[in-house]
Amino acid sequence: MSGRKFGEVILDLKNISLSFGGVKALQDISFNVLEHEIRAIIGPNGAGKSSMLNVINGVYRPQQGDIILRGEHHANMDSYGAATAGLARTFQNIALFKGMSVLDNIMTGRNLKMKANMLQQAIWFGPAMREELEHRAKVEEIIDFLEIQHIRKTPVGRLPYGLQKRVDLARALAMEPQILLLDEPMAGMNVEEKQDMCRFILDVNDQFGTTIVLIEHDMGVVMDISDRVVVLDYGKKIGDGTPDEVRANPEVISAYLGASH
């Protein structure tokens, strides 16, 4: 992984705290993400990883703390604001649009870039069609990239799990995000599917220069592909650093393996 160039800090999270009633999901968590890096968030179940991702892309609003995205404060951002700011994400339990085809799902990812108004769309011929074809060409590039040409017209509900995960990634990529958040991209996959997914994540990072923040349980995968790792446990940050540093961190070892008391 050495030799790749990281840029400035693109996303800086400062003292984030989030609670639901009495449950403190996140307590005073700070970390940053550099441009072009692959940043992993790991931790045992219930550690607050998904909450962290939901805070970053505006699904939850933290009670305290600040989110600084490219130097701008975004603590009160909602999901629409996050989408316009160049954040895209995939979901742990796939959240595709089940009634629509693969192509339509991915095309939906481009909705922010489509500008034709309702009347133009109703007439179709003219600006709406031009725009539709333009974006179709872009979407086809993503379809080629993720090797899902053969299923583009299939309703997503009929696809096997691994392919659905890939379509979920395709939809996020269609937004041409600067930061891509992946919530357990490899959960429930077999070895081949995991290898494919790793390859896609690395390719996205490499070819498009997309910054990636991912949550993953497969330690082998995390240690192999990520540049830096944040470790959460019970809503607190217990470790932060390169995979090797994290692996050697005694607190992390005790959280994962249990400490001898």
């Binding site: 699904v59 959240a95 595709l96 629509m100 909705n111 179709w124 725009e131 074809l133």
Partner: protein
């Protein structure tokens, strides 16, 4: 055998994005539309036009509106009849209050008024969904029922409470014979169906469906639920408003608020459920099923009775009609819960392979 795509290769995205990508479909649709415009008027008598075809066309338009909202955007409504009423009464008021108002403009303005009302009564959808939303939209039904019955201004202070309009004059073409009415409604329906198809295959339709299928994921990719839901309410109410204005102006001529009661709302909802939610063709199938089947039963039951040597009274016919109609609805919903449109789609899939099983 004849319905097959072998050897049809698309070389551009434009060819692939057509409304009917399969040439056989395209020709079939063109043939049906041409037949409807030219063939039907030559073949059918006045009774058919008045009792079946004109109501069928207008209710199809209304079902299209309901389908956009319920089938494509996933927001249930029991206020469809109210939207039709707003369209009809608004168009009526534009006609009687503004001198020289062209009827077509009044109908479209009626649709726009219905759209505005639809947006207002669609606001609860931002907070509630499902059955709760159904109850909220029911409020719009009761409100407008009450308003058109009690607020005399809406009915231009007519003493009986019913309002009537003269025959529509469209650029010198006076629409008064049943054939004229049929052709006018058919023209409107074709234009509106094409527009619906265009909206639904484009960005707008994808946003609606995204909200229907998974609203959290939709917001995360930048779809604003408020915008998507309220546009769906607006477009749906616009279609319903135009259909309501046509129902009043063309089909009835003079009408009372009862023409757009809760019965109408339920009838439209049944149409899209039986026809097929989330399919444009479903609106056509559903309207045909609900409008034509009772009349068909009404006509054929006495015939069947006389063949069996039974003396069938009119009261018995209407009872049996209800029984058969109800059981057919149940039958269709059990056989194919996704409606007749899905049966049709499955049939087409089979036809592509026929005569081979795979």
């Amino acid at each position: 055998m004849f319905y097959r795509e072998n050897g049809q290769f698309k070389t551009s995205y434009k060819a692939d994005q057509q409304a009917f990508a399969i040439p056989q479909d395209r020709w079939a649709i063109v043939a049906i539309v041409v037949f409807a415009f030219i063939g039907v008027p030559l073949l059918v008598d006045e009774y058919m036009f008045r009792a079946i075809l004109v109501p069928f066309l207008i209710l199809t338009l209304a079902a299209l509106g309901v389908n956009i909202l319920v089938g494509y955007c996933g927001q249930i409504t029991l206020g469809a009849g109210a939207s039709m009423a707003v369209g009809a009464y608004a168009a009526y008021n534009f006609m009687v209050r503004i001198d020289g108002m062209p009827a077509l403009a009044a109908i479209l303005l009626g649709g726009l008024m219905a759209a505005a009302a639809g947006i207002v009564f669609g606001i609860p959808s931002l907070r509630v969904r499902g059955l709760y939303l159904a109850v909220a939209t029911l409020a719009s039904q009761f409100f407008w029922d009450w308003a058109f019955l009690r607020i005399k201004w809406f009915t231009n202070n007519s003493s009986s409470g019913s309002v009537s309009v003269a025959d529509i004059n469209l650029f010198g073409w006076t629409i008064n014979s049943p054939t004229d009415k049929y052709l006018f409604c058919l023209g409107v329906l074709v234009v509106f169906s094409v527009m619906a198809k265009n909206l639904l295959r484009g960005n707008m339709g994808r946003q609606w469906m995204a909200i229907r299928d998974m609203d959290v994921a939709a917001t995360v990719i930048g779809i604003r639920p408020m915008y998507a839901k309220l546009t769906a309410f607006a477009v749906s109410s616009f279609y319903l408003g135009v259909a309501g204005a046509l129902w009043g102006f063309v089909n009835l001529g003079s009408w009372e608020p009862a023409a757009f009661s809760i019965d109408r709302s339920l009838q439209l909802l049944f149409m899209v459920i039986i026809g097929g939610l989330g399919a444009i063709s479903g609106s056509f199938f559903g309207a045909a099923f609900i409008v034509i089947l009772p009349i068909f039963l009404n006509q054929t039951l006495p015939l069947v009775g006389s063949l069996l040597g039974l003396d069938v009274s009119i009261a018995l016919v209407s009872h049996v009609e209800f029984i058969i109609f109800g059981s057919l609805i149940v039958f269709f919903l059990i056989v194919e819960p996704h409606g007749i449109a899905r049966l049709w789609a499955t049939g087409r899939e089979k036809l592509r392979l026929w005569p081979f099983p795979h």
